[in-house]
């Protein structure tokens, strides 16, 4: 079956009542966004979605380890690497801390992973206020044009809730959810 043990895609033309979204949180375990721990922030976004639980649900998964395992390196086993890349693909919304974009060691693998996500997936990051905030936002935007970079908590909330309410919500974006799932299954198969 397409997607193998990793993923069960929707079929073309299928009617979806409730879509369960997987959010990849590529952040250090204690990371905060604008002073709020990530799980609390996501809870607050979920509670602001009227149809949450009726048409869309979203689980978050700590994916920093998975992301690090997906990076080719001298001591990395090919099998482990492919497994990590397949698992990451099953997440259509990625919430990534900005250090992953600014640090040399992780920015290349991240670029490669993002390039390979289906167009329907969305990667969101944020930059905390500070003297270098604008410079960092511009730098990430120039290298990762498809990534949504937020400078305020409101903007970050808007990006995450916008995605869950509209793109990942079958009441609004059933077609794109189905297309995303078919592409993910195909990419998993192609990885071998």
């Amino acid at each position: 079956m397409s997607g193998g043990a990793y993923f069960d895609p929707y079929s073309e033309g299928q009617s979806i009542d409730l879509h369960k979204e997987q959010i990849a949180v590529v952040c250090n375990p204690n990371a905060k966004c604008f002073g709020t721990p990530i799980p609390d922030f996501l809870d607050s976004v979920r509670s602001g979605i009227d149809t949450y639980g009726e048409t869309v649900e979203a689980d978050e998964n700590d994916c920093l380890d998975l992301f690090l395992k997906s990076v080719p390196g001298p001591n990395q086993q090919n099998e482990e690497l492919i497994d990590a890349q397949k698992q990451l693909l099953t997440h259509s919304l990625w919430l990534v801390e900005c250090e992953r974009f600014t640090e040399d060691k992780s920015s290349t693998p991240l670029f490669y992973q993002i390039q390979n996500l289906p167009d329907e997936s969305t990667v969101i990051t944020w930059v905390e206020p500070g003297p270098k905030q604008k410079e960092t936002v511009d730098s990430i935007k120039s290298r990762f044009p498809s990534v949504l970079v937020s400078s305020t908590e409101h903007e970050l909330e808007t990006h995450v809730s916008g995605y869950l309410q509209f793109a990942a919500n079958p009441a609004r974006g059933e077609h794109s959810i189905i297309q995303w799932s078919i592409k993910v299954a195909k990419k998993i198969d192609e990885l071998g």
Binding site: D50, P72, G73, P74, Q76, N78, D104, S107, T108, P109, F111, Y112, Q115, D119, E120, T122, S139, S142, R143, F144, P145, L148, T152, H154, E155, T158, H159, G162, Y163, Q165, F166, A167, A171, R172, G173, H175, S176
Partner: protein
Amino acid sequence: MVNEWLAVQRVGEWAGLSGERLERYETVTRDILEKELEEVGNNYNLNNEFFEFLNEAVFSSSELVSILKEIGANPEKVGSFEAGSVPVEDTFSSYSVVDYGLDEVADFVMLMKLFKNITATTGSDSIAPLEKLHSLVYLTNYRLSETRDPRASNRDLDFGMLERTGYRYSFKREDSYCWSESLHRDVLRLCAWGLLETEPVEQVEDHWSVQYRVSLGPSAQMFLLRFSSKIESFRSVPLKEWEIKQEDVLDDFANVSQSGINRELNSIPQFTEASAGGVILNGRPKRFSSNPNTPLGGIQINA
């Protein structure tokens, strides 16, 4: 719909809103959007009529228009909201505009020439591992820095020709190889625009550190045609010197393995004497600016 939900934000920015005024607009617009989706959303095929739906049912609503007037949005843009004629698609495409300064273009063109020449020299259109690219660029700048420049303004700085020409990238030593954060940033920028492409190497090699390969991307030919002719038209001595040094480095090292390049690095005192993370060579300190009346034939070097 793929990220069409971003249209609300993009249109707000197009209307000249930012900060709290943008937040207020977004909050109101999203409420209207939610309501209208329930009420008239079914009248539209939202997969391909989402922007029409936004214009007809959301942006032109009297509630939103009065908020826009209240927060002082550009009157002409407010007119487009009222008329339901907001150019939603254009607000997305304006994000794809490439706007680089001459210094950046010079670096980009020389990087892409490096890839073009490496294909001619090695028969392979890519460079792997990633630190090999950094080494080749470093060696180009290193050789420029070792070439005496009679026009150098301050010989104490010991930049040689690198004072006036070469890449702007500064290099530091990693364990066994050299690396430039600014070069790396530019490689990713070029990848983002399709000028370069990067992918992991298929066969992981033990003595390689950053196991990715880079090659020219689908848009490179167009870029080279357009900008390298511009750069070449300067016919300046500094740029020619840059190109000659780069070609020399490729002649000497394009076919050499990373271990061989590491041996070369270990023969350079600035590299061997540096500790891990230490700077081994700063980038070109002077900037180019375009001015056809300068004696250098179009490139004015600003101190």
